[in-house]
């Protein structure tokens, strides 16, 4: 009767939408701020962002039941603007095409890309706003739920945005290494980004846990589940150590040892950030506990 309503598909969606939105922001930042040798990073980030968010959205659709079997029911999804899901449908359906057009423009894909190239500046501005909206939305989606006191905090969108930016940067860096392995040396320049965003993510996560412990009885139950209960191995190992501390340390080394770090460690740090981002969503969703009503 008290089954978990949301499971892995929602976790995957929260992660993929965050990583895709973050990859877009990373691509725009690289395209605007960095010199020519970082173009492969911008290309990789833009190529990854649209498809990642689209696959995440597919996860949402597959989590539906009647709406999946009778897809016309999905037309109703924008009926209630006081529901975050209605807003999410609007934001996602605007962001995915913009991200795909931006990827086409940066990579000169077909005639669409050549046409979109004229409007690259517009795409960057509109896309960045929509990307931040997408990342923040994944947090607000669960932050407005008062049936789960643990999620019901304004820190949630902040935490998810911080995680989205660091996972997005990781996606762009892995993509750049795949597109052009010779850029692996120049990736060291972006290690500083990991240092900054992982630090922010770590601090917000710490605040979130500490405040949950005192906010309400139910939030404390969930927080304790994460730090010392059934979810603690996943939280400490996957989220804290492998997802934040190890890539943080590796990125510092990478930044100072400019270009001398072995390739597998550079890409490994990025993969760990992705593992951490997915696990963070997982433990938060599975730590949900309802209000105590009797």
């Amino acid at each position: 009767m008290l089954e978990n309503a949301w499971g892995w598909l929602i976790v995957a969606y929260l992660f993929l939408a965050g990583a895709g939105a973050g990859a877009f922001v990373a691509a725009v930042a690289c395209d605007l701020l960095a010199p020519d040798w970082s173009k492969s990073l911008a290309r990789a980030g833009s190529l990854a962002s649209g498809p990642l968010v689209a696959v995440g959205t597919m996860c949402l659709v597959f989590d539906l039941e009647a709406g999946l079997w009778q897809p016309w029911r999905q037309l109703y999804l924008v009926s209630n603007l006081s529901s975050m899901i209605s807003w999410g449908v609007i934001v996602l359906s605007l962001f995915i095409p913009v991200a795909l057009l931006y990827a086409a423009a940066l990579n000169d894909l077909t005639f669409v890309g050549r046409y979109a190239k004229k409007y690259v500046w517009h795409l960057e501005v509109a896309g960045s706003v929509l990307a931040v909206a997408t990342a923040v939305y994944t947090g607000i989606l669960i932050a407005v739920v008062n049936g789960v006191p643990f999620w019901n905090t304004p820190l949630m969108p902040v935490l998810f945005l911080a995680s989205a930016v660091s996972t997005g940067l990781a996606v762009a860096m892995i993509g750049a290494a795949i597109i052009d392995i010779t850029t692996i040396r120049t990736l060291s320049n972006f290690a500083l980004g990991h240092v900054i965003f992982l630090a922010i993510e770590g601090v917000v996560l710490m605040l979130f846990i500490f405040m949950s412990l005192t906010r309400s009885v139910e939030a404390a139950v969930s927080a304790n589940m994460m730090i010392s209960g059934v979810l603690s191995p996943y939280f400490w190992l996957l989220v804290v150590v492998l997802g934040i501390l190890v890539p943080f340390a590796l990125s510092i080394v990478e930044y100072y040892e400019y270009g001398k770090m072995p390739k597998y460690l550079v890409v490994g740090a990025d993969l760990l950030v992705l593992v951490g981002g997915m696990s963070l969503r997982g433990v938060i969703i599975f730590a949900a506990s309802p209000p105590q009503i009797v």
Partner: protein
């Protein structure tokens, strides 16, 4: 229009689950699906222990969190104050299940939609009472119009100062409890 609610006297509940079975029967639910059930709580101090049975079901909140979060506007409040689902609009996103603080909504995996207690509105509109109310062997439940100060339920709530569960959540439930 009346504003229907139920008052529940937990001091009379013996935990027989007849209300649950009557509900499953009336709504033709599977054995593992239920719109109402009984939570148990041990309370008291040695030597006077006590097990309290608290029947729970949809609270038909006036400020219903489920109604606010439903993206398809499938959830609405009827003129009688009953929170109801238009099943043809529900897509099964389960957002309302997460939003409900009382966790009294269930997923019907056959139809792929979310469903819950509807205060047997079909029988109530014909002048009857919900199945859980009429079946209870101890008359734990009192059904009636909360807006009528002379109804049995209003007098019961006034006399025993019955309260909803977790009134601090500000959802204004219409199920009241006398718990001691």
């Amino acid at each position: 229009m009346p504003r229907y609610g139920i008052a529940i006297d937990t001091t009379k509940c013996i935990g027989c689950h007849a209300c649950q079975v009557a509900c499953q029967n009336h709504n033709q639910l599977d054995y593992n699906q239920r719109f109402n059930w009984i939570l148990e709580r041990d309370r008291g101090k040695y030597p006077s222990f006590d097990k309290e049975f608290v029947p729970v079901q949809c609270n038909h909140c006036e400020d219903a969190p489920c109604e606010r979060v439903c993206p398809t506007a499938a959830i609405y409040t009827t003129a009688e104050g009953i929170v109801h689902i238009r099943s043809e609009r529900c897509v099964g996103c389960k957002y309302c299940v997460e939003a409900c603080p009382y966790k009294v909504r269930i997923v019907d995996h056959h139809k792929g939609i979310v469903t819950k207690c509807w205060l047997c509105i079909d029988m109530v509109r014909k002048g009857g009472e919900p199945a859980c109310v009429t079946t209870c062997p101890n008359q734990v439940r009192i059904f009636g119009d909360l807006d009528d100060p002379n109804s049995k339920i209003s007098r019961f709530i006034a006399e025993h100062r019955a309260q909803p569960l977790r009134p601090d959540l500000n959802t204004k439930p219409k199920i009241y409890y006398k718990r001691s």
